[in-house]
């Protein structure tokens, strides 16, 4: 009897959640709320929630309230696939906002594609993601672009001749950026003197950095996440390496300078937007975000916000709430005034926008230059 009860308890929740409310538009989101990527997932989620709250405060879409169901993927591909399927079949969402990591998007997006549910990824930068199908979109730029931008900046503005690379070999994003940077840097006449790697979760990087030091580069490209970069920067300076460090949007967080302290100052990274921008979309976003969460948004939050905004705009424009209608409207997104720039989705469903180069200066992020594709 006790066992029967147990079985019942386990099966019941599976069956629940099939009901659908009439006067509500439901959007699904999966993200890493726990697991090793949770800090990025939670950040994205904050941006998404803020966008949702805003739309509901202004009366929702087509007179209906918009609600969002967020599921956790624990940083696992198969969980992302299961969560997406659940959102589509159980919760019958009209569209899905994906998570950060490209890996999970590659596991989840094919499911959305096969059910013809539009899928918008805030931050999956791997080029292959949107190749999955015509229902898959993203609002961030892709790996090659960021690598390109930094290589251009490094050769033209910083006039570097010899660069070293330190990549996170566990992270497809980091590897993608590093590959493109290396190719582009060499094309522009530079030399890659060292190409070493670490794994997310490491805390000691001195072995790699000592190795880099012996090669005397003019700059080091570290396209990782701020969780490691802060420590890397510190150890770089401890070993007496004084050349500039460069990175990608994974650096963009208040935590970077909290962890790295003065060691991160004066270094450069490419980003989607600058907090120093006078663009009202940006200033407004930062003001509201600080009021709501009491912290400066990082790039994940900004991308999550933009992804949601773009999706909501498409929902508003769409004649009905069918997957096809929403998809078509998403594809038409042009010059959308997002926090992370004027976003146009091209025929590959990738965002076309310019990147900015930021210099870290304490908690301030100093705008250096804009680089357009």
């Amino acid at each position: 009897m006790k066992r029967l009860l147990l079985a019942l308890v386990l099966v019941l929740p599976l069956l629940s959640g099939c009901t659908k409310k009439e006067n509500e538009i439901v959007i699904g989101e999966y993200d890493s709320l726990t697991g090793s990527d949770a800090t990025f997932g939670l950040s994205t989620n904050k941006g998404v929630r803020m966008a949702m709250d805003e739309i509901n405060a202004t009366g929702g879409i087509k007179g209906k309230k918009v609600s969002i169901i967020t599921l956790d993927d624990q940083g696992k591909n198969e969980e992302a696939a299961a969560a997406t399927t659940r959102l589509i079949t159980q919760n019958q969402v009209v569209a899905i906002i994906g998570g950060v990591a490209s890996g999970r998007s590659k596991a989840a997006a094919p499911i959305a594609q096969s059910h013809k549910v539009p899928f918008v990824s805030p931050a999956s930068t791997n080029p292959d993601v949107t190749k999955i199908g015509d229902y898959v979109f993203r609002v961030c730029f892709i790996d090659p672009f960021q690598g390109l931008v930094m290589a251009k900046f490094a050769t033209e503005n910083l006039k570097l001749k010899k660069a070293a690379i330190l990549r996170d070999v566990k992270n497809d994003y980091s590897v993608g950026l590093a590959d493109v940077f290396a190719a582009e840097f060499q094309k522009r006449g530079g030399e890659i003197v060292a190409d070493l790697s670490y794994q997310a979760g490491d805390i000691d990087f001195k072995a790699q950095l000592t190795q880099i030091r012996s090669k005397n580069p003019d700059g080091i490209y570290i396209p990782g996440y701020y969780t490691e970069v802060g420590l890397i920067a510190q150890q770089t300076r401890q070993l007496g390496i004084k050349v500039p460090l460069m990175g990608g949007d994974g650096w963009d967080s208040d935590k970077l300078s909290e962890i790295g302290k003065e060691a991160v100052n004066g270094n450069y990274y490419s980003n989607h937007y600058t907090t120093e921008s006078s663009d009202p979309a940006v200033t407004e976003f930062i003001k509201k975000f600080k009021a709501k969460y009491n912290e400066t948004p990082d790039s994940m939050a900004a991308l999550g916000y933009d992804a949601t905004k773009i999706l909501l705009a498409a929902l508003e424009r769409a004649p009905d709430l069918s997957g096809k209608a929403i998809r078509d409207e998403l594809a038409k997104t042009k010059d959308f005034p997002g926090v992370t720039g004027k976003i146009t989705l091209n025929e590959n469903r990738d965002a076309v926008k310019s990147a900015v180069i930021i210099q870290v200066d304490g908690t301030k992020r100093k705008f250096i230059t804009t680089i357009t594709p």
Binding site: T39, K206, A207, G240, K255
Partner: protein, 300 residues
């Protein structure tokens, strides 16, 4: 040459961090013959305890000996209590159960701490308070010897010696050895195994507490999953040295740290972990009980 010396310093300094954690694994293994998977998460909780306490007292930007000692005590006490609670609630009921069960329970406790840590502390990394100012002890060319490196190494060596003393020279140490070799016989001789085991957990866990503060001051980033990687490495190091053997844990940890460093330096940084594990496998194949472990012939 300069680079080589630098690599040695890096390797030893990394190894001594592994050693601090490895000592905790080896202590518990020595007495209970179980891999306490939760040990690295006790270490994580220690780091967070120190972090929150420092914020509570407002001393997070107040480096100095007093801060160091306060945080060490806090971390050690918190870790001991947690270790004790884990032993009492999760491991003691399983004293007679098969080994694999205890291992699964330990993994369960580990997952529990990691995931409730993410709920309670938040998943984003926190910045560990600045406990002490690091400074250069001496410098030859580009090679610097930093105070933190020496501190960590000294602490682990002192901890090792203290443990050796505790185990082989004191009364409670004798009781520990008795429980380790045969708990039921030990209890016949008037030793209360439960109390000895609890004591072992206190010692092992406070070492995790010490480790958490020292690692926190050297690498000031803490997060709920910080124990995972370092725990795995430290535990492998303990096995490498011969798990259950205090000196072996330190030796294994130093070898682990140095070999990781040297693999990055002279072979390949991408294959670092593969080589580190490869070395481990080779050593275990030739010395099936680790470097200092005694391979006991089963009595027939």
């Amino acid at each position: 040459m300069q680079d080589f010396i630098q690599h040695i310093i890096n390797g030893v300094s990394l190894g001594s961090i592994y050693a601090l954690i490895a000592l905790g694994y080896t202590m518990v293994y020595g007495i209970l013959k179980m891999i306490n998977f939760a040990h690295s998460d006790v270490y994580m909780v220690g780091a967070f305890a120190a972090y929150y306490f420092a914020r509570f007292l407002g001393i997070e930007n107040n480096p100095g000996i007093a801060t160091l000692i306060t945080l060490l005590v806090v971390a050690m006490v918190c870790c001991s209590l947690l270790g004790l609670a884990i032993e009492r609630l999760a491991y003691r009921p399983l004293r007679k159960a098969p080994k694999l069960n205890i291992l699964i329970t330990a993994i369960g406790v580990s997952l529990f701490l990691e995931y409730s840590g993410q709920v309670v502390f938040g998943a984003d990394p926190k910045v560990f308070p600045e406990v002490m100012k690091d400074f250069v002890l001496f410098k030859i060319g580009d090679v610097e010897l930093k105070s933190f490196d020496i501190t960590v190494l000294l602490v682990s060596v002192i901890a090792m010696l203290a443990l050796e003393f505790l185990i082989f020279k004191t009364k409670i140490g004798r009781a520990m050895r008795a429980v380790s070799s045969n708990a039921s016989v030990a209890s016949l001789l008037g030793v209360n195994p439960d109390r000895i085991i609890a004591f072992t957990f206190i010692v092992g866990s406070s070492l995790a507490g010490v480790g958490s503060v020292l690692v926190g001051m050297k690498y000031p980033k803490i997060d709920p999953l910080m124990g995972m990687m370092i725990g795995l490495k430290a535990f492998v190091a303990a096995v490498l040295g011969g798990i259950g053997n205090v000196g072996g844990a330190v030796l294994g940890a130093l070898i682990m740290g140095l070999s990781e460093e040297m693999v990055v330096a002279y072979l390949s940084s991408t294959y670092r972990d593969a080589f580190a594990f490869g070395i481990l496998i080779i050593i275990l194949i030739f010395r099936p009980a680790g470097l200092l472990g005694k391979y006991s012939v089963e009595k027939v």
